[in-house]
């Protein structure tokens, strides 16, 4: 049973990897960007866990900046993905422009809250 589970897991993992290889490069870039944002958030949480949450506003703004930008990147990925039927008519440049604008607004708020 255990061997089958491990083998199944390995097989699953391999199939995921091969499937992922076929995704277009721009989507991979976006995925990488999301990973970067999430890791930065995790490091900030670890720092807060060590030293305490003073000043709390700074911690929140740093964390939400990472989380926000990750969310916006995910939205961009959804909109840019050609296999997504819902956004067929939306040109990817438009989605990218939205991404940039929303990021700028987010970061203005973040900078204000940073203190």
């Amino acid at each position: 049973m255990a061997r089958t589970t491990t083998k199944d897991a390995q097989a699953l993992f391999q199939s995921l990897r091969s499937a992922y290889a076929s995704t277009p490069t721009n989507l991979k870039i976006i995925d990488l960007y999301v990973m970067f944002a999430v890791f930065t958030a995790l490091i900030q949480v670890a720092y807060m866990a060590i030293v305490g949450s003073f000043p709390f506003n700074s911690f929140l703004s740093g964390l939400l900046s990472c989380v926000g930008t990750a969310v916006l990147a995910v939205c961009l990925r959804i909109q840019v993905n050609k296999e997504n039927k819902e956004f067929k008519d939306l040109p990817p440049e438009r989605a990218f422009a939205d991404f940039v604008l929303c990021n700028l607004v987010l970061h203005l708020v973040i900078m204000n809250f940073l203190g």
């Binding site: 490069t25 991979k28 870039i29 990488l32 960007y33 990973m35 970067f36 944002a37 890791f39 930065t40 490091i43 900030q44 670890a46 720092y47 060590i50 030293v51 305490g52 003073f54 040109p91 990817p92 440049e93 438009r94 990218f96 422009a97 940039v100 700028l104 970061h107 203005l108 900078m111 204000n112 940073l114």
Partner: protein, 654 residues
Amino acid sequence: MARNYVRFLALILAISICSEAAIFRPISDSHRSAALDLFKPIDGSFSSLEETYEALRTFEVLGIGNKLDISASTCRSVVEVLGSSSSNLKDLFYALKNQGILKCAIKEEILKGVSSKLEAAVNGASSLPDFYYSVGGLVLIKDQTPEVNVLLDDAEGVFRSIKALSQSDGRWRYSSNNPESSTYAAGMAFEALAGVISLAPSEIDQSVVATVKNDVVKLFDSIEKYDDGSLYFDEKTVDAHEYQGPIFVTSSVIRGVTAFAAVVSGSLKLPGDNMVSIPLIVSLPATVLSLTQKDQLKVSVSSVLGSDAPPLTVKLVQASSSSSKGASIIENQELKFDGDSSFHVLDALPDSVDIGKYLFTFEVVLYDSENEKVYTTGGKTQVPIFITGFVKIDSPEIAILDSDLGSIETQKKLDLAGENSVALSANHLQKLRLSFQLSTPTGKAFKPLQVIIKLRHESNVEHIFLMGNSGKQFEIILDFLGLVEKFYYLSGRYDIELTVGDSVMENSLLNALGHIELDLPEPPEKAARPPAQPIDPHSRYGPKAEISHIFRAPERRPPKELSLGFLGLTLVPLIGFLVGLLTLGVNLKNFPSSAVPATFAALFHLGIGAVLLLYVLFWLKLDLFTTLKAVGLLGIFLMFVGHRVLSHLASTSS
């Protein structure tokens, strides 16, 4: 101004009929300085000739030789007024009055011209002030310059016209048109009538003069009296603008009546003993006499303005003690006149005179009976006199007694003339006794106003006791058993202080006698607490205690190295991202190559970079409003540029 002048004039000429005159003082330097303050010339002259005359006359009466400052300018204005043809009667009158005091150099022709003008005015006058000023002016010219011949042709006619303005109650109207009458006008009228009589070339009909005398008597029926007996005239109907007070009115009447009485033959029958007299005042330089220093009783008699009195004797009619119900100790003593000091002196007080408060009654007897018409002495003058002396204190002693039995445990003699510091101790079962005898210089018993013993505790709680006496012996017994509650059960050291004092006692004393250690029982539960002692008043406004503020403990900050370490750690995912990008093989192939889109693309990237830079600046030093303004501007630029680039890219890729 008129009031000040009038006041001094009134004092000279006032009728002071009183049976018991109050104590007056003659004119002193305070009056003189008050007069100088009141009459202050502006730029060397006064506002009117009337005021100038009042000032000069006041200075003359008081003996202030200050006329020289204003005499030059006054003489100039006097000459001007007398020489001018348009001066009115009042100005001429007062100019002549000033001339009487200052004696300026005026040419005879000018005075002749003035005199003829005044004569014409007299004949043409119809109102009382006109008569008054013109007749008065003519009298002044006649007195000052006998060379100028002053004639009043129709003196009798003038007399009758002035008389016509009189009323039945003795007062006068100002003019025939005006029905208002006043007592002040009556004074003016009498003076004018007196002037007419003195200027008349021939005798005036005596029957008319007699009717005026009757008017004077009628006017004196309206005389009023103050509480202290002095008499005065006042207006019945008061016109608020013109009202100047009883002194003003009285002085006008007196001036008029005096002038009239001087020119008529026969006497005016007036109510009262004296006519017009100079009052003499009895004054004492010192009302406190000391027996120890053998002070003599000194009295001075002078007129109100300080001039010498005629020869007279002062008699001490009676000296009665205030306390022993008026028993007189001195009767009918004559005081000797000491020519050097011009005081009347009583050689020596009789030996039986003791210390205390007395009432001395003086009477002035004039040598020359003729003077009695000229001077008035005011009857008997009463003066309160204090006679002070040394009070003998005999056998002062302080003792602690045992209760009930009264046996003496400690007894100490005191020396109240010098320093004492006894040290006693007692408990609550004992008594404290303080006793001494007081006697006056003549040996009689003496009860001073204050005989007080004070016990003060270390904590500044004080207790005051009054001592009683029987005859000469003063004694107090403090029974501590009864006083335990009053003392708030405070044991400890009490300072003893004795006060013996009176206004006639020259050796009043406030002595610290020493201290007593009191041993009182413990206070019970419900005992009254001693009253809180007053706080030093300065401490209320002094600085208060320093407040030590308690701050919130500052947050524990992480060590610097840890923070920097994590800063570096945060950059690791960024590096990972860049490495990942390179692994994926990113390229810039889609970057537009043709010129215009390329510039726009470059600008797009620069714009985004500029916004991010702005955010960094915002974090570092800018405020939100500046940032928003800048973001707005950059945003518009960015949108425009971005739109161009992205639409170009969209068109090329589709």
